[in-house]
């Protein structure tokens, strides 16, 4: 028998919405099913984007991978596809995300860590060797340098003879949330949003199967945002992008069907389900009422459910398999379009093939063994779920209203409002974990001291050989390319950055000339400058 009292149960949601012991008709008396729910596939899409949901098409199973050099990542991709994974998701190292070449002395220690290193189009070709760009879709977690990375993908397709209108994939390209939570911004928000918009506008014209932006809340919730904050600030970011695109003269129904979203699913099972349902209803109404979108696809909140890692524990790491299973289940019951399951060891290491396999199997077991995907929105109509969906929606609406009243999201980010609100909640959560008010099994309750140090020791970075090989390949490209063509392309890019024309075609030309990610970024940095965030506490 343990001499410790078990933790107390909480009677409010993760976002602080008070919960009653049970729910009944009175809790949803104002609910009008035709107006507020619709059928699955019908406005306002609370019950899902498609009439038969997963019967027609299961969610895409996309495990996040990428490390070392392009060859290592290619091998992991082929392994995952061989195991039945249906899409790819690519992680980049920090130098690539911030526009430094692998031989830049400033970043020598970070090459090939946390993700794959990419310098030129040649690396993208290597990563996708033997992988058909028109059949397998890849999600690229890339933001500040999304334009050159997408340009590399398109030039790779060009070299292989794959037409751009057949290339599939998603680039994250959501720079606003970088200032809020993830920190891989380069330029100030103004020019950064322009570059993101240039990329979206280009894709609408020339690469219609690419989702050119994935507006992301997952990084905010990983940093400590509540589900309601994640929902509200993400939609507020999305509103800022839509406004920027409309302002530059792109018609809303032209680009809105290509917007997609990324959330992370966390531990509050029912509130996470409610979050996905509320997001669809809220976004559909924003697009229709506020922006006058008409196409049904313009109203769709298409979402990738990230697994997250901040709520996984280092102690007794196999418990994370149970946690991630529940998270995936919440996402599927919430009707998401694609999902990842975080490998159980990601809280402290680079996942191995073994842990990646269990994560993928978790998806396959829920898809094929449990019967969960058979019926669309199986919890729709539940008194509790409908009441909670409404409460989450209202709480998010209140935050979005505040952002609107404060002059929109770019102004809010520059003032540091969302940053501060998320920090406040992160601070509260840590205090609640320390006090035991927020139980984490095996960590602050039911902790087995004998288990404490038995965590696997795993590698965390790239080997020196991988880094050396990457730099060698870069130098080979530098030697053999036409230097004058590179200089001309970079000069044209710099001049265009000073004006207002769409920069994406100029980035493409630089990539064709085999300019490096560092050179392209430097050209833009010379014009746009660099953003230094205030270290607000």
């Amino acid at each position: 028998m343990s001499d410790q009292a078990p933790p107390k149960l909480s009677f409010e949601s993760a976002s602080g919405i008070p919960l009653r012991p049970s729910y009944g008709p009175d809790d949803v008396s104002e609910l009008d099913p035709a107006r507020d729910l619709g059928e699955p596939g019908q406005y306002p899409f609370t019950r899902g984007l498609y009439p038969t949901m997963y019967r027609e098409r299961l969610w895409t199973m996309r495990q996040y991978a990428g490390f070392g050099g392009p060859e290592d990542t290619n091998a992991r991709f082929r392994f995952l596809l061989g195991q039945g994974q249906t899409g790819l998701s690519l992680a980049f190292d920090l130098p690539t995300q911030l526009g430094y070449d692998s031989d830049d002395p400033e970043v020598e220690d970070e090459v090939g860590r946390l993700g794959v290193s990419v310098d030129t189009v040649e690396d993208i070709e290597e990563i996708f060797a033997g992988i058909p760009l028109d059949r397998v879709s890849t999600s690229f977690t890339i933001n500040a340098t999304a334009a050159p990375i997408l340009a590399m993908l398109l030039v790779c397709a060009e070299r292989r003879g794959v037409a751009w209108d057949r290339v599939r994939g998603t680039i994250q390209n959501d720079i606003l949330k970088e200032y809020i939570a993830r920190g891989t911004h380069i330029f100030p928000p103004g020019p950064a949003v322009r570059l993101a918009g240039d990329t979206v506008a280009f894709c609408c014209e020339q690469a219609p199967k690419v989702y050119p932006i994935s507006i992301s809340g997952g990084h905010m919730s990983e940093a400590g945002a509540s589900p309601v904050q994640e929902l509200a600030y993400t939609l507020a970011d999305a509103i800022a992008y839509v406004e920027a695109l409309v302002a530059r003269g792109v018609e809303v129904d032209r680009f809105a069907p290509r917007l997609s979203f990324l959330f992370c699913t966390h531990q509050d099972f029912f509130e996470e389900i409610a979050k996905y349902r509320a997001a669809r209803r809220l976004w559909a109404s924003i697009m229709r009422e506020r922006f006058g979108a008409r196409l049904p696809e313009s109203l769709h909140f298409r979402v990738f459910a990230g697994g997250g890692g901040s709520d996984l524990a280092r102690r007794e790491p196999l418990n994370n398999i149970v946690r991630t299973t529940m998270k995936l289940l919440a996402g599927v019951l919430g009707g998401v379009q694609s999902a990842t399951v975080t490998p159980y060891d990601e809280a402290f290491a680079l996942p191995t093939e073994g842990s990646q396999r269990i994560a993928l199997r978790t998806q396959q077991i829920i898809a094929y063994e449990t019967g969960v995907p058979t019926v669309a929105d199986p919890l729709g109509g539940s008194y509790f779920i409908e009441a909670l969906t409404r409460d989450v929606e209202r709480a998010a609406q209140a935050i979005i209203r505040q952002v609107d009243e404060g002059g929109g999201m770019v102004a809010a980010i520059e003032r540091g409002d969302p940053q501060r609100a998320i920090l406040d909640r992160a601070h509260r959560t840590q205090a609640r974990i320390a006090s035991g008010e927020k139980p984490i099994v095996g960590v602050n309750c039911f902790a087995d001291e004998g288990q404490a140090d038995r965590e696997p020791e795993l590698l965390h970075g790239a080997s020196p050989e991988v880094v050396a090989r990457q730099r060698e390949r870069l130098q080979t490209v530098r030697r053999r390319r036409d230097g004058a063509r590179v200089e001309a392309a970079l000069g044209a890019l710099r001049r265009a950055a000073e004006g207002t024309e769409n920069l994406f075609p100029l980035v493409l030309e630089a990539v064709r000339a085999e300019a490096t990610i560092g050179e392209i970024t430097r050209a833009l940095r010379e014009v746009f400058g660099e953003y230094k965030a205030a270290p607000g506490l």
């Binding site: 993830r182 280092r314 974990i433 020791e457």
Partner: protein, 158 residues
């Protein structure tokens, strides 16, 4: 927008009960890692516990951190590293402080740190190592204990 390091303090009270000034700690992000919510939460927790806290903001060089450590006359430098470069950055930080003539300022390191790296960090000169997953109140108490123990070992050259 200002890039001046921010100082946060809850006032002059030192819960350790000594007559000296509150402990001053410089928290820093070095390298390219952009995740700083954790270090900001720690900054607030230290401030609540009576420390004076200065936070550098993202992507600082170890030389810049060492300069701030000197001008702000801090009792410790705390690095937050979630990107796997903790050992090499710790070594560089310790060296930068030595170059700046403040080799006695202890360097503390926290973040996503495999247990197997704790010894390497010690060898690189870290005075304290704080792998993720430890409750915040324990982290704060360990930082205080580490600094008070160092202070008891002798006087700094400053």
């Amino acid at each position: 927008m200002s890039t001046r390091p921010l100082r946060a303090s809850s006032g002059g009270c030192d819960p350790a009960g000594a007559l000296r000034q509150p402990l001053r700690i410089l928290l820093a992000k070095v390298g390219l890692d952009g995740h700083d919510m954790g270090v900001k939460v720690l900054a607030r927790a230290l401030r609540d516990a009576g420390f004076e806290v200065i936070y550098t903001g993202l992507r600082q060089s170890v030389e810049a951190v060492a300069r701030t450590a000197v001008t702000e006359d801090v009792d410790a430098v705390g690095l937050s590293i979630l990107s796997g470069v903790h050992v090499v950055q710790t070594r560089k930080m310790v060296a930068a402080l030595v170059t700046a003539g403040r080799g006695r300022i202890p360097v503390l390191v926290g973040g996503v740190i495999p247990r197997g790296d704790v010894e390497s960090l010690r060898a690189a000169g870290a005075a304290g190592v704080f792998p993720s997953g430890e409750p915040l109140d324990r982290v704060v108490e360990r930082i205080r204990a580490t600094l008070l123990a160092r202070a008891g070992e002798g006087t700094d050259e400053r």
